[in-house]
């Protein structure tokens, strides 16, 4: 059933606004982060400075038999979490797959479209398993941030301490606003007053919903903060930056 008013073709639209700015910015942002994080993870050096540990290497697993950078032992988890995230799916389906490039903007038409019903995109359904691991990682990164307050057995705060703390707060806000967590923690319940711990589930669901309504914001802020935290620690480790001690 086709409308006779239909125009076809990639990017065909009557829209006059700058609809392409969003997908372009998302595409460039994700590509820039992907390039930097791959490089930072692959080189396997300058990821520690004093009590600081780069989030690309946390939790740090030093396994002599593993011939590559230790970052590759752990990065699959945050990568999988973000790659299957409901927000990032929107971002990269628009930016890279152009499916669609924008709302009411033409794309490659075809009846072969399968969405997320077949391989490879049916794999998106594993998102909740990555979420479970990502929640564990938040606690591990929180532990690293607490450790960053200790200098030679003494309490201390450096600029890096603050950066690591903000990073874990942003990552936590992103992770605890996950759509899958929202479902698991209470969203699957229809009648809260009819189930055990219903009021607790409802409050938990409401809390996750609050963060979930800002999921896009925290997705980008946490992506930037992870990259910047690694960059700062790397620069300190290389002697390019001097970490200022505040306390």
């Amino acid at each position: 059933m086709n409308s006779t008013a239909t125009q076809t073709g990639l990017f065909s639209t009557d829209r006059r606004d700058k609809w392409w700015v969003g997908p372009l910015a998302s595409g460039l942002g994700l590509a820039a982060f992907g390039a930097y994080s791959t490089w930072a993870a692959a080189i396997g050096v300058h990821y520690e400075f004093g009590p600081y540990l780069s989030p690309f290497y946390a939790p740090l697993i030093k396994w002599d038999a593993f011939p590559f950078s230790p970052a590759f032992l752990i990065l699959w988890a945050p990568l999988g979490f973000r790659a299957t995230c409901y927000y990032y799916r929107k971002a990269y389906y628009r930016a890279y797959f152009m499916d669609p490039p924008g709302c009411a903007v033409g794309e490659f038409r075809g009846h072969g479209y399968k969405g997320e019903t077949s391989f490879p995109f049916i794999i998106q359904n594993v998102h909740r398993f990555f979420m479970y691991v990502a929640v564990l990682f938040i606690f591990m990164l929180g532990y690293d941030a607490v450790k960053a307050f200790t200098w030679d057995g003494q309490f201390g705060i450096g600029v890096g301490t603050i950066i690591m703390t903000i990073n874990v707060l942003l990552l936590g806000s992103y992770t605890f606003g996950c759509h899958s967590l929202r479902h698991v923690i209470g969203g699957k319940t229809d009648c809260f007053s009819c189930t055990k711990f219903g009021p607790v589930k409802f409050q938990a669901w409401r809390g996750v919903s609050f963060l979930n309504s800002r999921h896009q914001l925290f997705a980008w802020c946490s992506l930037f903060s992870v990259g910047f935290t690694d960059f700062y620690i790397r620069m300190c480790s290389m002697g390019i930056f001097t970490d200022v001690r505040l306390l």
Binding site: M1, D14, A104, G106, R109, T117, T189
Partner: protein, 251 residues
């Protein structure tokens, strides 16, 4: 101030854009301009409208390429000196001018299993808490303007009308499925008949909704997660095997 309106004129076989000059007044909306054209220049221009208050969902169209309600689109936001282009919804067949045949939507609606409340309590009533129904009341705001159906690329570009019900009916299914009193199981129907897996959550439906319903975040994604529970989560499957709990423990 005079503004040029470029309005689609045609039927299911062919059509073209015709330019009309209208006098713009303060507070004027696009539907006013269409009515002015009907009254003064082209009495046979067809458009569907009713309330002129953004609540009946009749006057859906594409204005400068964006799916919108004509009655809620002020003319002064388009004062860029170019003609304002008004065309019918692209995802549905044109009947005449700005009127499209949206009857396919009503056929999809028939696929959705109706509300099936649990047994009444001893005093002959049902009870539910306001905070439990707030979630589904958001979906009840839908005015069936079908802008979400029109902008959804699965229907608009891929023409999957035989396999996909569209955001409007996923939201309607969600409004029933998440109701605290409902006992019906619609998960397989949502997955298979409404084709929820075809939605790749690019959120255009949410962007165009005139009632600001969070269609994707609050409707479609929670349904997708329930489908993961039922079909794609081996841990849930094993837990149900061990405990003998039904597929939808919350019902």
């Amino acid at each position: 101030m005079e503004t040029t309106m470029s309005v689609y004129r045609g039927d299911k076989n062919s059509g073209r854009f015709v330019d009309y000059k209208v006098k713009q007044f303060e507070g004027m909306v696009v539907l006013d301009a269409i009515h002015q054209i009907q009254a003064e220049q082209s009495t046979d221009l067809a458009c569907r409208w009713n309330c002129k208050a953004g609540k009946c969902g009749s006057c859906s169209a594409e204005i400068n390429g964006k799916p919108r309600l004509m009655c809620m689109s002020r003319m002064d936001q388009y004062n860029d000196g170019k003609p304002i282009v008004v065309r019918p919804l692209r995802a549905f067949p044109v009947i005449r001018d700005l009127v499209t045949d949206v009857s396919w939507n009503y056929e999809i609606n028939k696929k959705i299993k109706p509300f099936k409340p649990k047994a009444k309590e001893a005093d002959g009533t049902w009870r539910m808490q306001q905070y439990e129904v707030d979630r589904v009341q958001e979906f009840r705001k839908c005015i069936e303007c079908f802008l979400c159906q029109n902008v959804c690329h699965v229907l608009r570009d891929h023409d999957k009308k035989n396999e996909f019900g569209g955001p409007r009916f996923l939201v309607r299914a969600a409004s029933l499925e998440m109701h605290p009193l409902d006992t019906e199981d619609r998960i397989d129907m949502i997955k298979d008949s409404l084709g929820s897996g075809l939605c790749n959550i690019t959120k255009c439906c949410t962007e165009v909704c005139p009632e600001s319903i969070k269609i994707t975040d609050n409707g479609i994604i929670p349904l997708k997660e329930r489908i993961v529970d039922a079909h794609f989560d081996p841990v849930v499957w094993l837990w149900r095997k061990i405990t003998g709990k039904p597929a939808q423990p919350t019902k």
